[in-house]
């Protein structure tokens, strides 16, 4: 399952899973876009409904309709990509989330990071943006000794880092939970002594519950990531802090 081993182009299982997720994701939406008609069918209706969720519930909700319009494509893209990479964690035979290894979360976080920085700089200029984000107005000046370093860490380090770690940790923990539950189930049911088989049922039930939870988490983390994208953009470009 590993190609180009020990090179920078190494393709292991997780990369393959990502390829599959991307392929499915893009095929669904490209076909949807190709066949898109003015009067939507069921398939197109479902796609439009999910796109509309990103537009109204994430972009317009956080950024307002005027600013939000500009960032709808980015936010929608981030939401759907992360969702498709997350959901592979609960799809049989893939069984691992594309986002449960750090590379992909890093790329997404960097994208968001550079986007909100560049949008802030574009709007206020470099100095203006720094002043805007590091010296928020409306506080007495001595507070800046405390506030500015915190804001600096926040803007330049913590925001992207938390984006990466939140997503990675959630998906990895979910994967470990599922793997543990099902591995334990198979061990207890097929290899352990008779008395322990009952525990196999318990671990299977737990695995089933975690499976459902993981479906929810896949959706939730995609939502959290994209809503934070919207929030960071909003903080960068809004007039007041």
């Amino acid at each position: 399952m590993i190609f180009f081993e020990d090179t920078v182009f190494e393709i292991n299982r997780i990369i393959l899973v990502r390829f599959i997720a991307v392929a499915v994701f893009l095929v669904i939406f490209v076909i949807g876009a190709r066949r898109a008609k003015l009067v939507p069918g069921r398939f197109q209706g479902a796609l439009e409904m999910s796109l509309d969720f990103c537009r109204t519930q994430i972009a317009y909700e956080i950024l307002g309709e005027k600013d939000g319009k500009k960032y709808v494509p980015v936010i929608t893209t981030i939401f759907f990509s992360i969702f498709f990479f997350n959901i592979t964690g609960v799809i049989p035979f893939l069984n691992i989330a594309g986002t449960s290894v750090i590379g992909l979360p890093i790329i997404f976080a960097l994208w968001v990071y550079f986007m909100y920085l560049s949008q802030g700089v574009k709007k206020f200029g470099v100095g203006g943006y720094l002043k805007h984000s590091l010296f928020p107005p409306g506080v007495p000046w001595p507070i800046y000794f405390l506030l500015t370093p915190v804001e600096f860490l926040q803007v330049f380090l913590l925001r992207p880092a938390t984006l990466v770690i939140r997503l990675l940790a959630n998906m990895m923990a979910g994967h470990l939970l599922l793997a543990l539950c099902f591995a334990a189930t198979s061990f207890l049911l097929f290899e352990a002594s008779a008395g322990l088989k009952a525990f196999g049922v318990v671990t299977f039930a737990a695995g089933f519950a975690f499976y459902l939870l993981e479906v929810f988490v896949a959706l939730l983390q995609a939502y959290v990531f994209s809503i934070l994208t919207a929030v960071y953009l909003q903080m960068s470009i809004s007039e007041e802090h």
Binding site: E10, G32, L47, V74, T77, S81, I102, I107, H175
Partner: protein, 196 residues
Amino acid sequence: MIAAQLAAAAHSVAAATETEELNPLLPEWYDIIWSLVIVVVIYFVFMKYALPKFQALLDERTEKIEGGLQHAEAAQAEAAALRAEYEQQLADARTEAARIKEAARAEGGVIVTEAKAKASTEAARAVETAQRTIEAERQQAAVSLRADVGALATELASKIVGESLEDTARQSRVVDRFLADLEASTAATTAPNKEN
């Protein structure tokens, strides 16, 4: 299938523990590179191709709906205008009809008056003609009566008297006297008649 699942699960557990040993927060280069490739592909295919298509479609739909609404509004306004026009025309027609009726009534009145006048003159003329005729006939009757009565009376008298009245001079005198008497009495009786 179960075997495959198990193998996958076991493998992933192994992979997970392996990455954990490697510290999952430190990325491998191949991981970064492939992630970047994937995100770039998504960026171009989804964000630059598929999404604008959907957006264009949504805009088009909004436009169509708005266009339809405007069209409906225009149609409604047009219908209202037409209706107002019809009502106006109807009111005009009613006024016109009333006017015509009034004119006809007036004209009818005039005609009736004229007819009445004409009829009364006709009647007067007819009465006059009839009276003239009657008068003429009466005159004629009087003349012929006078002649007949004269002859008859003479004849009668001559028969009664015999030959005594042969003398023409006497005869003529007697007749004239008789007629004058007769005429006087006739005039006395017909005069009130003529007054009528």
